[in-house]
Symmetry: D2
Subunit: 153 residues, 4 copies
């Protein structure tokens, strides 16, 4: 299956991969419920998959994401972007690769790639921008040790 | 509730609103199942809402989106972006405004705003880029009359 | 479109409609993202639609469901059932009818029908059983005035 | 965490476990996007998980479910039921156990349990009833070899 036609003048093209290591990988399969009437995985699911990648990234860095929340901080999503290059179908297996482009106590940018299992073919790529807020939604810096671990794979 | 902190150096800032008319509006409510454990509408739902806006936009232009598909063309999503400005909670009502920034036989860019019911407060904004393909995934131009209607609200 | 074949020896057949008034109605449309690769609305969405019906039912009885939760009670779902009679497709409009079969301070049973817009054709029917718990998940009776309003449409 | 209060007079109680072998197991984790504002996995997700169990069950029996569809048959869901015993939270790991209660060329009943990773604690149980139809929605028997494999774990 060839690529979807590109839209090269995208304002986001500088986020184009390939993602260089270090990154964290996790494998998933397309659920039946994630397909749509075109027979393809629906565009919204990629943002769920990015979130799975983000959770796994944190876990490998020794951070349980839910512990951040239990410590009173949330990393709210303030931007999300995905560029879809090739379709996925029901029961297809794929890799999610996740890395951190930028992390400060107030902000983190995660970048993602969805690839075929052998890692060769890029299916989609994207990023999410997160801000650390407290329970009242006010900007509230993350502890330095968490920031250090988010940064250092 | 104040804004989420902005990330002004976003590569997408030129898509910032406010959206000028003509645009198409549709009202929705946040479903319980659309909230997450933070108590907020989860980021992936905005892409479902954009899709509701897009369907409504086409309907008001006299195009049933399913007729495009039954005519053998699909407008596959090749890029999607959302910037989240303020949170939404369970049962909140909101408007989705949809307009077309660009439409040719091969490509269409839809832009969206999510706003409070009175239209005053911007909750989120974003866009999706679509390419017209045939049943085999090859680029295949839309009929001119459909393009004309997509363009002309 | 004819019915799906019935499975008449279902243990749930006594929940079969038609639902007699009083019930509460709300109209919805099938979202693109709710379809699957068969081209039909996926079975899980009916439980989201039942929830929309339940929220609307409470609202018409003068109860904002979120107020129950803000009062420290949750109506957790302990059982859910759906029987699918006919398919729904992208952009189809439909009615959700909701009634209460049973309500006590500790437990409520909601029953639902999904019907075509004119009310004539039954698309699906089902029920959910809810238990009132406090923030620690312990059974905790609802205030009597809420129970009375849940019961009395 | 103790059980949700039971509703023992449920019409479905005969589906109560424990599921005896043979069954097929697959492990999953609760996604962030699967939680709701109560902090628990939302009731609709269990039906997605049942579907993951069903896909895995077929795969272990040597049937790729998508091959059934490519052979022109769909196993449409005509009933689904879930009883929720204990809550699941973000990032919790769990097992899905799937077995077949009944399979004929026209109909199949799958039964499921969701359990903690060690298999000891029942989190939820349920079933789905499926009818084999052709592309026009008419009852159309499955080939005997497929039925035999569905039955025989």
């Amino acid at each position: 299956m060839k690529n979807f036609p590109s839209s090269e003048n995208s304002p986001n093209k500088k986020y184009s991969g390939p993602l260089a290591p270090p990154y964290v990988e996790i494998e998933q399969r397309v659920r039946y419920s994630e397909t749509d009437r075109m027979g393809l995985a629906h565009n919204k699911n990629y943002f769920e998959w990015f979130e799975i990648g983000r959770t796994e990234y944190c876990r490998r860095q020794g951070i349980a994401y839910k512990d951040i929340e239990e410590g009173g901080r949330c990393l709210v999503v303030v931007e999300s972007f995905c560029r879809y290059k090739k379709p996925l179908r029901y029961d297809d297996r794929f890799l999610i690769r996740t890395a951190v482009r930028d992390a400060t106590p107030k902000k983190a940018v995660f970048v993602y790639e969805v690839r075929t299992l052998d890692g060769r073919i890029l299916i989609a790529e994207g990023y999410t921008v997160h801000i650390s807020v407290d329970e009242n939604g006010r900007v509230s810096p993350l502890p330095e040790d968490i920031v250090a671990r988010i940064k250092s794979p």
